[in-house]
Symmetry: D3
Subunit: 232 residues, 6 copies
Amino acid sequence: MKTVAVRNIERANTEVATELGKLGVATVHEAQGRIGLLKPYMRPIYPGARIGGTAVTILAQPGDNWMIHVAIELCQPGDVLVVACTTDNTDGMFGDLLATSAKARGVKGLIIDAGCRDLRDLQEMDFPVWSRAVSAKGTVKNTLGAVNVPVVCAGQVINPGDVVVADDDGVTVVERKITATVLEAGRAREALEEEKRQKLASGVLGIDLYNMRPRLQEHGFEYVDSLADLEA
Amino acid sequence: MKTVAVRNIERANTEVATELGKLGVATVHEAQGRIGLLKPYMRPIYPGARIGGTAVTILAQPGDNWMIHVAIELCQPGDVLVVACTTDNTDGMFGDLLATSAKARGVKGLIIDAGCRDLRDLQEMDFPVWSRAVSAKGTVKNTLGAVNVPVVCAGQVINPGDVVVADDDGVTVVERKITATVLEAGRAREALEEEKRQKLASGVLGIDLYNMRPRLQEHGFEYVDSLADLEA
Amino acid sequence: MKTVAVRNIERANTEVATELGKLGVATVHEAQGRIGLLKPYMRPIYPGARIGGTAVTILAQPGDNWMIHVAIELCQPGDVLVVACTTDNTDGMFGDLLATSAKARGVKGLIIDAGCRDLRDLQEMDFPVWSRAVSAKGTVKNTLGAVNVPVVCAGQVINPGDVVVADDDGVTVVERKITATVLEAGRAREALEEEKRQKLASGVLGIDLYNMRPRLQEHGFEYVDSLADLEA
Amino acid sequence: MKTVAVRNIERANTEVATELGKLGVATVHEAQGRIGLLKPYMRPIYPGARIGGTAVTILAQPGDNWMIHVAIELCQPGDVLVVACTTDNTDGMFGDLLATSAKARGVKGLIIDAGCRDLRDLQEMDFPVWSRAVSAKGTVKNTLGAVNVPVVCAGQVINPGDVVVADDDGVTVVERKITATVLEAGRAREALEEEKRQKLASGVLGIDLYNMRPRLQEHGFEYVDSLADLEA
Amino acid sequence: MKTVAVRNIERANTEVATELGKLGVATVHEAQGRIGLLKPYMRPIYPGARIGGTAVTILAQPGDNWMIHVAIELCQPGDVLVVACTTDNTDGMFGDLLATSAKARGVKGLIIDAGCRDLRDLQEMDFPVWSRAVSAKGTVKNTLGAVNVPVVCAGQVINPGDVVVADDDGVTVVERKITATVLEAGRAREALEEEKRQKLASGVLGIDLYNMRPRLQEHGFEYVDSLADLEA
Amino acid sequence: MKTVAVRNIERANTEVATELGKLGVATVHEAQGRIGLLKPYMRPIYPGARIGGTAVTILAQPGDNWMIHVAIELCQPGDVLVVACTTDNTDGMFGDLLATSAKARGVKGLIIDAGCRDLRDLQEMDFPVWSRAVSAKGTVKNTLGAVNVPVVCAGQVINPGDVVVADDDGVTVVERKITATVLEAGRAREALEEEKRQKLASGVLGIDLYNMRPRLQEHGFEYVDSLADLEA
């Protein structure tokens, strides 16, 4: 591994990132064609947070948070810290001190494929975290990793400067170059969903709204009157 | 697999189902002789919900929510959607649009041995879900399953029309034919527990309340004064 | 296994235990040299609780809570029940009745490497529990275990009388003999952290506060201007 | 739970069971319409075994093998023991003594949704086992379960007398009433596969053999010449 | 954590350790009263090995095998290396070079609650390993741990000098002071089992051999003739 | 997701791939700086296989093997099929028919982040597979994915044409452009290891061979004579 930090990265537009955050994970994930979703073991440490920001990426060694300290210097307002790990690890690499420092740099939150601690403090200071675990396990600063290189975090490639969107549904990444397109598609989808929502609320069935009956028939799907008919 | 939907099912009595819901999962599970509990990986997406309703069952393919759309047409007020999957899967098969539609039919909630999304919306609209995962992963509508057939959901057989009870402790199923009996037994148990609770609160020990001392002795259980005695 | 209960145990000082509880898991774990932390699968059943107390230990058989009833008689105000299991098990060994009884004895909470149930009641009565699972699965009282013997709970040795500290970050144990020393170290650490927190909040970087730059250089860590430089 | 043993069960035909065993799990599972497969955590304790037999079912409590002793009396030559558990458990409920006894009754093997031990002995005596775990953990005989009732084992309903087929690919169940039909369908499938195998071995592509090209086109699948075209 | 190595440890008798190894894990675990078994995720990297030796213990940091190098110097013929980790980790901390070195010191094998690599080489040189994972993940030598201190390995306390027994069934530990007693009990058990085995092989039922019928009846266990009777 | 197949990919040199295969996973992973290793849940379906080949990549939907059929047409001798999945899935997407077809194209083996079946046949025809699961679960051909696009498989980015090396230790990927360099580094490492192996076999300690004593001292590592000293 190249043990290196990249000082300057091309970031997606911060406003676009913020707007993507408002759309939320499910809409953004769908709007870009059902890609980009991190594995569902990534969960928020408290409910209700919703963010969109530009990724500053970190590749950390298990049980070692040295690189997070290095990364914070390279953060700008609107960034989100993204920590991948060279191997599966749940140690508490991030707590209230790092959050205080990150917040002072304008960082919006943290995505970490490892553990996080000081939950009470993080919630009080409104610094949201999505992690694979909560753990108070202390970490060292002994082994080098890398900052602002492409990483695989919870199953997805995240490049520095990509947009990360996170809410109660999980985390998704949007490649930097397509963020504007995805935002547009997401808004269109949201408008469309609002329309559908109203129809469904009024009692229209999805099976009719999406015109599923002919395709069900074509695939040989059958309706029977009762379980008894089925067993017959 | 027979790819089929059963239109008419025999449902347990809706009021009985509602009353079982009020007793809660632990009481109902015990009242029917410690059976019917779904595996504990089934967790509510937000705390505090408590329901009892009649099952409309769905057997879905991984990553495919086609059958849920089919099932909603067959729902009645007081029903609970129960989704089993042909293989382990965590994709977000259910979100706010399906919930809107289900709610319009009077459905009380969802039990899904897969993933769920749009948590914020579902909580705002007060549509409770118990799932094995939260995931925004989008699904397709390409492969047939079945509706209103017996399924195995999180380790338990659930037949259409059975009663499903769910709260913060998890989910349990009660076979349709025995719902009235179980309700009676549950109420008796609840009364009995209230009595015990008062005694225990007043300082009576469980070891005395349940008369455990003779049986401990009979099994050869010993008391020693200190750890030192034990090692001697 | 010796099937036995030890009546008298040497407990750590209750006030020290309470004070350790106020410091919280992360601080206590660090203050004693990063030891004592239980595996992170031990999670609180509701957020916000924070306790420190003296351990009354229980070794239970899977699906059997007989020994918990035996243990409660041996509890004193300020104690915390600690349940280990002879094999991995998630059954709901503890619910509102046992909590009522424990509370009547002055017990502060429960640490259980198995399941717990009656979440709503436990939260209402403010009896906190840290467990590996929530499950309504009923248990029997058929097989003997032991009470107040040393146990391994979620990966840590816990001796009767040791201090157990638990909060939203998890659970840690402090050996009885070193509790006073750890309390002192924890308070010193807390003071030190407050100082650091203020510096970090004011914009001082951790990389400077901890003087990391020379050590990074010594280990061969490099900075490059852009990803393009990296690939070159 | 009814704590009961059913003495007389209707068994599928033993020869049909044996023949289904020869077809193997994958063929039988497909031949009956992709149903009946137990979850893939069920693995053989040694490679190479392949059996088909009639199920004698057991519902056991965690850490307790009492019911297996009860079941063996009810076994006949050609049977397979099928152990489900009331809760997830990995204890070593079965070892060489029980295998000796089962073998003396003509039992062909064991399917157990728990643990198994004495691997060396079991392999030497050629008594195959499919289990969720290998564990020497000793068990007790304290809590009643049931024998020859319908059970859910590793996610599938298994009724006493059903046929269980197991090999290196896992375990599948065939309902008693349809065993003859499935055997016929399995043999037809096997013949058909042999034909396909020869064509594929000679270099015919599956995409042609299954005439996939028109359907790919219809679904909008595209071919591009190079990754560069894709990114353009 | 004290970062320290203990040079001189009191070892159990080597011959006793070897004899315990011959008895095997299941027998030894039972002979000492069903204690000492490591969690069943500890599996041999190849089948057929069976060892008993005296523990040299290691507490390692995740992704770091420095302490194993330190430990090998302290090994004697008949020892078994036992590696615990400060946090869950699967990295390949041990491979053919360390095995070569350990073998040169007369070490019988390795128990590691982490990963292992170079499987082909280890099998060829007949150096058995029980691990939680196989992984080629390279490790560093940057963070101190400890050697020959008491550790918790896969859920069990192991003290330096204790006997570790491992075979295809898993791993068990025997406290140094009771090894002779356990050996005696194990041999007695083995003799008794041989007797039982012959009876069972001849067709005597366990239910009779263990005189279970009266106790079944006393617990209310029922026999019915058919499933139909059960449902009636 | 773009549902597309890329016809022409730039492959690493086949001979280099073969030679990397001979070096084995551990050596190649180390030689490129401890990168490229797939998660350790990827295990061979039978022991002893060792391959190195050029990746033809597949992105499949859960429970659907359509894209594997598409991919085989694009394979050349020396290729290895690499299947990633859009979501975690264990279904048996690959069996003896696909292996027959792949083998007819000169494919060396399969890496699949899902399930595999027909183990007996695959071993007999010597077609090695590394998978996350063995499962006979049948799959459909209903939903499009992609072929020869970059994928994330078991935590690693794999580009079409990269070299994949797999043996009993797991699977590692080498980027196409650096394969020659890594081969050279791997051979150098192998030579160096042979030298070390001989020294270690002759009794030289790793602690001396790697000159660890000064660094241990510098880090404050202590030696004590006995556990008693430690507790003092």
